[in-house]
């Protein structure tokens, strides 16, 4: 058995700063106390009391992790690969990630100091924010967006600044909208295409002016590209590939969506060495290293997962076209989302706001969708439908939605 442990043990945490807050306070940090709970949570609680629900609310693949990947993790556990790994992640995995990013997107990262294996993109995001932000730094976040972005910025002491996007532009962020929100405190721009919740993608030509803005105003970009493989029309444009962007972008990606590995919590961050080294420092003190069995599984995914990945992507694509055609037919207009596994139809024509629509659809027809306003400004008037569901369920959901819409 190869020893995957580091030869030098990580240093113990620095001596505790004397926390001497004298004033009496509540039990919880004020920033956390002020943070609203995820809008999705309330809806989830509602759904879990019901039976016979068809859910288009699930933001994760309906496939189980391919067997050869599961088996690789089982094997590693049997063989006793149960120690910590290097803080940045197993070197073999970083080499494979580096090669994959190079082959897929044409950007090269040195596996020795420009790649960090994280516990999902979620950790990558948190660590990235903590590594780059100082109190009061502003981060521009195109919305509607994934629910964790704003809290991650706030928890790192930053100030999230939403940049609205709209259906008229297929939810692609517009350079003018970014420019209008720039201040001397603007530190970074968070991009996430293909997008959860809208399914929007942005091609190279559309991203070029945004890259130019980043360079001109010396902004960092954090690009969450977890859905990159799930791009069905056109090519995915990797943000660090754009001119001037490699040295100012933290690329976040992972295994959850492309390899159906959500529960493994496997992600990675790639970027310029100083930023990745800073992130690794935080990761080292908070996470130590990503779980070893999951890293073993990720190695197998990168080595031999291409065929099954492409099979899954083809099936998502078929469902995508079916659901877009279906929603448009029943009168819930829906732009042609080119990525991820979400569509974001408008419910404005029904006269209901998105929460009422979602709640009544659930109560009356037992179909769960997520109200668009859970994802921030620009989401009102829309619902998110995930097509990570079987064809039979998608069709039945469409039938029920049609019945519901016709009754309104």
């Amino acid at each position: 058995m190869t020893d995957v442990r580091e030869t030098v043990r990580p240093a113990p945490p620095l001596s505790e700063a004397a926390a001497a807050a004298a004033a009496p306070r509540g039990l919880v940090n004020r920033a956390v106390a002020a943070m609203p709970p995820s809008g999705i949570r309330r809806f989830f609680d509602l759904v879990s009391t019901m039976t016979d629900v068809i859910s288009l609310g699930v933001g994760e693949p309906d496939f189980v992790t391919p067997w050869h990947i599961r088996e690789a993790a089982i094997w590693s556990i049997e063989k006793g690969y149960t120690t910590y790994t290097s803080n940045a992640g197993m070197f073999e995995l970083r080499v494979l990630v580096s090669a994959d990013v190079q082959a897929q997107y044409g950007v090269s990262y040195d596996p020795t100091n420009e790649i960090l294996i994280t516990v999902g993109v979620s950790e990558g995001l948190d660590v990235a924010m903590r590594a780059i932000l100082e109190p009061g730094d502003e981060v521009l976040i195109p919305e509607p967006s994934f629910v964790a972005y704003k809290p991650c910025v706030s928890l790192a002491g930053g100030v999230p600044v939403p940049v609205p996007t709209d259906a008229a532009h297929d939810f692609k962020v517009q350079p003018e909208a970014i420019e209008a929100r720039l201040t001397p405190r603007t530190r970074a721009l968070l991009l996430s295409y293909p997008s959860n919740p809208t399914g929007a993608t942005m091609c190279r030509e559309e991203l070029l002016p945004i890259a130019a803005l980043c360079c001109q105003h010396n902004l960092l970009a954090i690009s969450d590209e977890i859905y990159a493989h799930l791009t069905y029309e056109g090519e995915h444009c990797c943000v660090p590939r754009l001119p001037g962007m490699r040295e100012r972008t933290i690329l976040l990606n992972g295994f959850s969506k492309a390899y159906a590995m959500t529960g493994w919590r496997m992600g990675f961050a790639a970027g310029p060495a100083p930023v990745i080294q800073a992130m690794t420092k935080i990761h080292q003190y908070t996470m130590m290293s990503a779980p070893t069995a999951a890293q073993m599984a990720a190695i197998e995914a990168l080595k031999n997962g291409k065929h099954e990945r492409e099979e899954m992507i083809q099936q998502y694509n078929q469902r995508r076209q079916l659901i877009i055609a279906g929603l448009n037919r029943i009168g819930l207009p829906c732009f042609r989302a080119r990525g991820a596994f979400y569509v974001f139809p408008s419910v404005a024509g029904t006269g209901l706001d998105c929460e009422t629509f979602a709640e009544r659809l659930l109560a009356e027809e037992r179909v769960a969708v997520v109200p668009g306003n859970a994802f921030g400004i620009g989401g009102e008037g829309h619902i998110r439908c995930a097509y990570a569901a079987s064809l039979a369920n998608i069709e039945e959901a469409l039938r029920r939605m049609e019945r519901f819409v016709n009754r309104l």
Partner: protein, 159 residues
């Protein structure tokens, strides 16, 4: 065409309209592609996968490996033809290894299958030393797992 074939392989009852929506084509075009595949003998039949055990019907399946002395001119083909004409024979494969043909036979009882092997298969002149393996349990067939399906373990709403 291959994408359409794969969809039908997964579920032969997918309608041309559904396939059209799934692949971004016109239903008429899908119908035409299917008709073409049928005409060319690519799409041979539309069949159902049935768990007969659950339906309460007993069917006995045996895999019989036989050695065959190939014939001048036609190799194994003539013998294979002689075997595959029996309705009891579900499949016949030419395989590599010690045996030459793998024959899958189905019958209502073990006794009948055994008789078929002894009287029909083993008596063909070129067939030697058939070895019979009765199927005891079906775990997976043609890509379908016959146990109960894995439940959907995902939470109903996930960000």
């Amino acid at each position: 065409m291959k994408e359409i074939l794969k969809i039908l392989e997964r579920d032969a009852r997918t309608t041309p309209e559904q396939i059209a929506a799934m692949t971004g084509r016109d239903p008429a075009e899908v119908r035409q592609i299917i008709a073409e595949a049928e005409a060319k003998g690519i799409l041979r039949r539309y069949k159902a996968t049935i768990d007969w055990e659950r339906a309460g019907e007993e069917r006995v399946i045996a895999f019989i490996d036989v050695r065959v002395s190939p014939q001048r001119g036609t190799g194994f083909d003539d013998i294979a033809r002689r075997i595959d004409r029996y309705p009891e024979v579900r499949s016949v494969y030419l395989v590599s290894g010690e045996q030459d043909l793998r024959v899958v036979v189905e019958g209502p009882t073990m006794r009948e299958v055994a008789f078929f092997v002894a009287e029909k298969l083993a008596t063909i002149e070129q067939v030697q030393s058939p070895s019979t393996h009765f199927l005891l349990k079906r775990y997976k067939e043609d890509g379908d797992i016959f146990d109960d399906e894995e439940p959907d373990r995902r939470l109903a709403v996930v960000p």
